[in-house]
């Protein structure tokens, strides 16, 4: 089974199993990694914002316009930002590495 790596806000690296066909958001939830995903992957929020490792970013399919619109609203946006709900694991993504942003746009936490 493919694996992927989350780098948490405190710098901690967590390698976890990444079943084919699951999204990065779903994998995070299975492994109790702290990504919110308030809209359950329906492209209505930016709370599953992740920052993709530079080398991996180029290998992902380009984001849709709807995803870009949501990314516009993400806090701490970077040039390699994506929404975790929109990255679906394939064989080619074995080893994918993403970092959690330091902040998300969740007003309740502020």
């Amino acid at each position: 089974m493919p694996k992927m790596v989350f780098i948490e806000s405190d710098g901690n690296r967590r390698e976890v199993e990444a079943p084919l066909g699951l999204s990065v958001l779903e994998i995070a939830h299975r492994n109790d990694i702290d990504i919110e995903g308030a809209c359950d992957g329906s492209l209505a929020c930016s709370t599953c914002h992740v920052i993709v490792d530079r080398d991996w970013y180029a290998r992902l399919k380009a984001p849709s316009e709807d995803e870009e619109d949501m990314l516009d609203l993400a806090f701490g946006l970077t040039a390699t930002s994506r929404l975790g709900c929109q990255i679906v694991i394939t064989e080619e993504l074995d080893g994918l590495t993403v970092r959690l942003p330091e902040e998300t746009r969740n007003m309740l936490l502020d």
């Binding site: 316009e65 990314l71 516009d72 609203l73 946006l77 040039a79």
Partner: protein
């Protein structure tokens, strides 16, 4: 009440008769009366906060803003949602330059621009330079245009942004925008152009020209002061760090309540420009020939600053050998022109734009900017020719006497 109004209008008529011929259209343009008519209801009965979603005042205001957004978008070949309203071209230029440079600073810490840009571009560049971004400033030739080969050589993998104005505000030359856009797109570099003097004057198409960011000014296109816009491309998406934080209006790129009447005014001005630009450019070209021909026929030592043909028709930047521009302006109370741009005319230094063309301090000081537009008449051009020719001849005669 009515007698007070009559008194007022009589005074207004008297002032209009006495006031100088306005030939400073690059500084600002009068608001088109049709624009004022379109705006008027939105100050009073049709007021509302376009961001209020719970009542008809807000919804009607939002609908009016969206019409305006679509009108401006149509003028430049954009989608309405790619238009971000701002307070003017200065803010748009600041947002585009600082926004892109700061967003990409970590990986692409270089920005390319040109020495003859507007002050607000050059000062934005100085600001980000202090933040650690490298700035490459391209020279311009004696014609005021950049060298495309030099631009191409300046682009590298570290470059996030190229910012080159479409039309120069002092000399009216048109930079090769489509060519610059193609070079930038091929290298994945964002291309910003300051369109303050170009939008509504020359055809601009953000798709055909590969423009990623385009600054617009309301009061340079017969719209109101205090409003402008920045076109921000959605596909491929251009990312910016906003200048303002707040309620997240305008795609979070420009928080703050939209000024409803001003947005409506910019929209109306855009619609008029789209409709009338071609015929207007032709008429202005006629006025341009009339003025240039009229002056050159009666005076020696007159030079046109900037490229002779790649320029907008509503501008003539002229040098009069042996004459000081400031003195010349002082000697022509009947015409309203300026020696450089209004934005820098607080300083007595010769124009940095003219110096960039290779003019000596003395030649730069001997130049004035003449700008005309939608409401300029042939009679006014003829009157201005008399005033200019008379004043130059007088100053030259005085200079000759003083030298004896």
């Amino acid at each position: 009440m009515s007698s007070a109004n009559e008194g007022k209008s009589a005074r207004a008529a008297a002032t209009a008769a006495e006031r100088p011929i306005y030939l400073d259209y690059q500084a600002t343009t009068p608001c088109d009366p049709r624009v004022v008519d379109a705006m008027r209801p939105y100050f009073t009965e049709a007021f509302g906060n376009p961001h209020s979603v719970h009542h008809v005042y807000g919804k009607r205001a939002e609908a009016a803003v969206e019409v305006a957004r679509a009108q401006l978008a149509a003028l430049i070949g954009a989608e309405p949602r790619e238009i971000v309203f701002t307070s003017g071209a200065t803010e748009s230029n600041n947002l585009a330059i600082k926004g892109v440079a700061r967003f990409h600073k970590a990986r692409r810490p270089r920005v390319v621009t040109c020495v003859s840009e507007h002050k607000c571009v050059l000062e934005s560049m100085r600001r980000i330079e202090r933040e650690g971004i490298q700035i490459t400033r391209l020279a311009v030739g004696p014609d005021g245009l950049i060298d495309l080969a030099a631009l191409e050589a300046a682009l590298d993998e570290d470059t996030s942004l190229v910012s080159v104005m479409a039309v120069n505000n002092e000399i009216g030359v048109i930079q090769p925008i489509a060519e610059i856009g193609a070079l930038c797109r091929a290298r994945g570099v964002a291309f910003h152009t300051d369109g303050a003097q170009a939008v509504g004057k020359i055809p601009l198409d953000v798709e055909a020209m590969n423009i990623d960011l385009l600054s617009v000014s309301g009061h340079k296109v017969y719209g109101p002061m205090g409003i402008g816009a920045l076109y921000v491309r959605r596909r491929p998406r251009v990312r910016l760090e906003p200048l303002f934080d707040g309620g997240g209006q305008e795609r979070t790129l420009r928080s703050g309540t939209l000024p409803l009447p001003l947005c409506v005014g910019l929209g109306a001005a855009s619609a008029i420009a789209a409709e009338e630009m071609a015929a207007e450019a032709e008429r202005l070209a006629g006025l341009n020939r009339r003025m240039m021909g009229g002056i050159a026929a009666r005076l020696d030592g007159v030079s046109l600053n900037g490229h002779a043909t790649r320029r907008i028709p509503g501008n003539l930047n002229l040098g009069f050998a042996g004459v000081d521009g400031e003195a010349l302006i002082g000697a022509m109370p009947g015409v309203a022109v300026s020696s450089g741009s209004a934005c820098t005319s607080a300083s007595v230094e010769p124009s940095y734009v003219l110096r960039a063309l290779g003019l000596s301090d003395q030649s730069a000081r001997a130049s004035i900017r003449i700008g005309f537009g939608r409401f300029t008449t042939e009679d006014e051009i003829d009157g201005a020719i008399e005033e200019i020719v008379g004043a130059v001849a007088r100053l030259r005669a005085e200079g000759a006497r003083a030298a004896e």
